[in-house]
C-alpha cells in the first residue's frame, strides 16, 4: 500500500442537465502506484476527461473516496484543493494550454511564481532548466502564441513539472499533434518518467501512445474494465 500514490474508491459522477441525469462514472476503483506511466483509454464519451478532472481535483465526484499520499481529499475546501493541485499535481491538456501573452519561460514559471508572488531568479533558473529538458531553451523568450503546436505541448509539459509534482495528468496531450510531434512528446514524457520517476496518467485514443505506457486502464460503461 505504501507504493500507492493516488487511490480512488468507488468514484461516482452524475451530471444533471435539468431533469435529465447522466451517470458517467459508475464506481471507479483505481490505485496509481508511484513512478508509473499509465494510459487511460476508452471510447469517446466514456468519461476519461471526467475521471482525470476528478482525480486531478478539478471536479468533485458525486460520491466516492479519494486519497493522495494517504490523505483523504474529499473534505477539502476549494482553496485547499487549489493549493494541492499547485503543489502536488501537474496538468497537460489538449488545447488552450498556455497563456498566449507570456513567454515560454513565463508560462513554465507561472505556477511557481503566482503563489509566492514573485518571479525569482531561482524560479526562472528552474524554468529554463525544464525548457532545456523539453528541448526548447532556445525558445524561452518566444511568446506562447509564437510557438508551434508541438512546441506548445512541450512547454506545457515543462510547466506541469515546475513545482516537482508527484503526479502529472495529461488529457490527450498528443490529440492535437501530427505523428512526429506526438512521438516526440511521448518520448519526452517517457524520458521524464524514467529519469525523475514522475508518475503520469495519460488519457489517449492513440493505441501507440498507450503501448508506450507501463499500464493501460480502460473505462467501459463507467467502470474500470481491466488493468
Amino acid at each position: 500500500m505504501t507504493n500507492t500514490l493516488l487511490f480512488a474508491n468507488n468514484i461516482i459522477k452524475t451530471f444533471r442537465n435539468g431533469e435529465h441525469e447522466t451517470c458517467v462514472l459508475k464506481g471507479i476503483n483505481l490505485s496509481i502506484p508511484h513512478g508509473k506511466m499509465m494510459a487511460l483509454q476508452g471510447a469517446s464519451g466514456s468519461g476519461k476527461s471526467t475521471l482525470l478532472n476528478i482525480l486531478g481535483l478539478l471536479m468533485r465526484p458525486t460520491s466516492g473516496e479519494l486519497r493522495l499520499l494517504d490523505h483523504s481529499l474529499i473534505n477539502l475546501s476549494d482553496a485547499q484543493l487549489s493549493t494541492y493541485r499547485n503543489q502536488h499535481l501537474g496538468f497537460v491538456f489538449q488545447y488552450h494550454n498556455l497563456l498566449p501573452d507570456f513567454t515560454a519561460l513565463e508560462n513554465v514559471a507561472f505556477p511557481a511564481a503566482a503563489p509566492t508572488g514573485r518571479l525569482t531568479s531561482e524560479i526562472k533558473k528552474r524554468a529554463l532548466l525544464l525548457l532545456d529538458k523539453v528541448g526548447l531553451s532556445h525558445r524561452s523568450h518566444f511568446l506562447a502564441s509564437q510557438l508551434s503546436g508541438g512546441q506548445k505541448q512541450r512547454v506545457a509539459i515543462a510547466r506541469s513539472l515546475i513545482n516537482n509534482p508527484k503526479l502529472v495528468f495529461a488529457d490527450e496531450p498528443t490529440g492535437n499533434l501530427d505523428q512526429d510531434s506526438a512521438k516526440q512528446v511521448m518520448n519526452l514524457l517517457r524520458d521524464i518518467n524514467q529519469t525523475d520517476n514522475t508518475t503520469f496518467l495519460i488519457s489517449t485514443h492513440d493505441n501507440s501512445v498507450a503501448a508506450n505506457c507501463d499500464d493501460i486502464v480502460r473505462i467501459v460503461d463507467g467502470k474500470i474494465a481491466g488493468v
Binding site: 478539478l58 501537474g90 496538468f91 488552450h96 497563456l99 505556477p111 503563489p115 509566492t116 508572488g117 506541469s160
Partner: protein, 400 residues
C-alpha cells in the same frame, strides 16, 4: 516586483490599441472633471473677489442692545450704549488697537457715515456719505482705481461722488454743491473726484468725504459710527468677526452675512459642478467595468488554465483589480495633465478689454482629488470583472 503586477501589466499592454482607447476615454472624463471644477471654482473666486475687493470684510458697529458691563481688568469692554442715545463708538482708538492685534486683520478704517442730500439749484438727490481718513480713502474700496475724473484726494476738503449721481445733478469736478446732513448742518463743498465702480449702489448713492469734514455735518465731534475692516483672507471673515465681537462687544458683521445671495449662487454652481463631476466619474467606472468584463470573457480559457494549475482565486482577482488601477492611473494622470493644459489655454483667452473670457482658475482643478477618485473608482469598477474572472470554473473553461 509582485508577479500579479507583471501579469496585470502584460494583460493591459497585450492589447495596446484597446487599452489606449480605454485610457483615452478615462482621461477625457478626467478632463471634463478638471475643466468643470476649475471653471466653477474660478467663477466662485472671481465673484468673491469682485465683491470683497469693493466692500469691507468686517463691519464693527455699536451693538443694538445694551452691552453688559464686564469687570475684567485685562480686557477692554465697549462702553454700554443706551438705545436712547446716539449710536456711536466713542473709544474707537482702543477698538483699533484690539483689531490691529487680532491675527488676520490687515486694514482698519474708522468711518463717520450718515445720510444727506445733495442740492444743486432745484435738484435734490439723496446720498450716503462715508467720512473716512484721507489716507484710507482706498482702504475698503479702491476708489483711486475707479476715478474717472479728478482725484481721490480728500485732504482738500472736497467731495468724491459716483458717476451716476454726478450725471443726475450735472456735476463736474470743481463744481460746488450743497450738502445737507440728515442732522441739520449743511455745507457747500467742491467736487474733487468722480468714480465709476460699476456697482449701481456705489455709483448712484455714495459719496466720500474726509472724516474731519463729516464730523460737524453729522454732529459727532469725537465718536465714529463704524469701523470697516479688511482681512487677509476674506473666507476667514466670519471667524475673525466672532473673535472681534467677543473682544470688543461691538456688533461685528462679516461680509458674507450681507451677501447671502452670492453665497447661494456659488453654492448652486458648486452643486451643478458636483453633478457633472459625478457623471464624469460614473462614465469612468462604467467604461472600465465593461472593458474588463469583456476581457474576462475573452480570457476564460487562460484563467481556466491558471486555476487548473492551482493558482488561487485571489491571484486572478488581484490581476484584474490591478488592471483597473493601471488603466485608472494612466487615464487620471494623462487627463489631469491635459485638463490643466486646457484650462491654462482657456484662461489665457482674453476679451477685447483684456479681461479673461472665462473666469477659469487652472490651479483650482482639484487634481489630487480627481486622481484619487479616478484610481479608487477604477479599482471599484474592476471588482465585478475580478469576481467574474476568479469564479471561472477551470473544467468548463478548458473544455470549450
Amino acid at each position: 516586483m509582485p508577479f500579479s503586477l507583471i501579469v496585470a501589466w502584460r494583460y493591459i499592454t497585450a492589447n495596446s490599441l484597446q487599452t489606449l482607447l480605454l485610457v483615452l476615454g478615462v482621461s477625457l472624463s478626467v478632463v471634463v472633471f478638471v475643466f468643470i471644477t476649475a471653471l466653477i471654482n474660478g467663477l466662485s473666486i472671481f465673484l468673491t473677489q469682485e465683491t470683497t475687493s469693493k466692500i469691507a470684510h468686517i463691519e464693527l458697529e455699536p451693538a443694538n442692545k445694551i452691552a453688559s458691563v464686564l469687570t475684567n481688568d485685562n480686557r477692554f469692554v465697549a462702553q454700554p450704549v443706551s438705545t436712547l442715545q446716539r449710536k456711536q463708538i466713542r473709544n474707537w482708538q482702543q477698538v483699533i488697537d484690539i483689531a490691529q492685534s487680532t491675527p488676520g486683520v490687515s486694514v482698519i478704517s474708522p468711518i463717520v457715515d450718515g445720510n444727506a442730500f445733495l442740492v444743486r439749484g432745484e435738484a435734490t438727490q439723496p446720498i450716503a456719505i462715508q467720512g473716512v481718513e484721507p489716507s484710507k480713502v482706498d482702504a475698503i474700496t479702491n476708489i483711486s482705481r475707479y476715478i474717472i475724473k479728478g482725484t481721490a484726494e480728500l485732504t482738500t476738503g472736497g467731495l468724491i461722488i459716483g458717476a451716476d449721481l454726478a450725471d443726475e445733478l450735472g456735476l463736474l469736478v470743481g463744481t460746488p454743491v450743497l450738502l445737507k446732513s440728515e442732522r441739520g448742518p449743511e455745507r457747500l463743498l467742491p467736487i474733487t473726484g468722480i468714480f465709476r465702480v460699476n456697482l449701481a449702489s456705489l455709483d448712484k448713492r455714495v459719496g466720500f468725504l474726509s472724516i474731519n469734514v463729516a464730523r460737524p455735518l453729522f454732529e459727532l465731534p469725537d465718536g465714529i459710527t463704524s469701523l470697516g475692516l479688511k482681512v487677509d483672507n476674506p473666507a476667514d471673515a466670519p471667524a475673525i468677526a466672532m473673535v472681534l465681537q467677543n473682544s470688543t462687544q461691538l456688533k461685528s458683521t462679516p461680509w458674507q452675512e450681507k451677501n447671502k445671495s452670492l453665497q447661494d449662487a456659488t453654492d448652486a454652481q458648486g452643486r451643478t459642478g458636483n453633478f457633472i463631476q459625478g457623471f464624469a466619474l460614473l462614465a469612468i467606472v462604467i467604461s472600465i467595468a465593461s472593458a474588463l468584463l469583456l476581457s474576462t470573457y475573452r480570457r476564460r480559457a487562460e484563467i481556466g488554465i491558471m486555476r487548473a494549475t492551482g493558482i488561487s482565486r485571489q491571484f486572478v482577482a488581484t490581476v484584474f483589480i490591478l488592471q483597473g488601477v493601471f488603466i485608472g492611473a494612466l487615464g487620471a494622470f494623462l487627463g489631469a495633465a491635459a485638463g490643466y493644459q486646457l484650462c491654462v489655454q482657456l484662461a489665457s483667452i482674453t476679451k477685447a478689454d483684456g479681461s479673461a473670457m472665462l473666469p477659469i482658475a487652472p490651479s483650482e482643478g482639484s487634481y489630487m482629488l480627481v486622481i484619487i477618485l479616478t484610481i479608487v473608482g477604477s479599482a471599484l469598477a474592476a471588482v465585478l470583472p475580478a469576481r467574474s474572472a476568479s469564479s471561472v470554473d477551470p473544467v468548463e473553461a478548458i473544455q470549450q
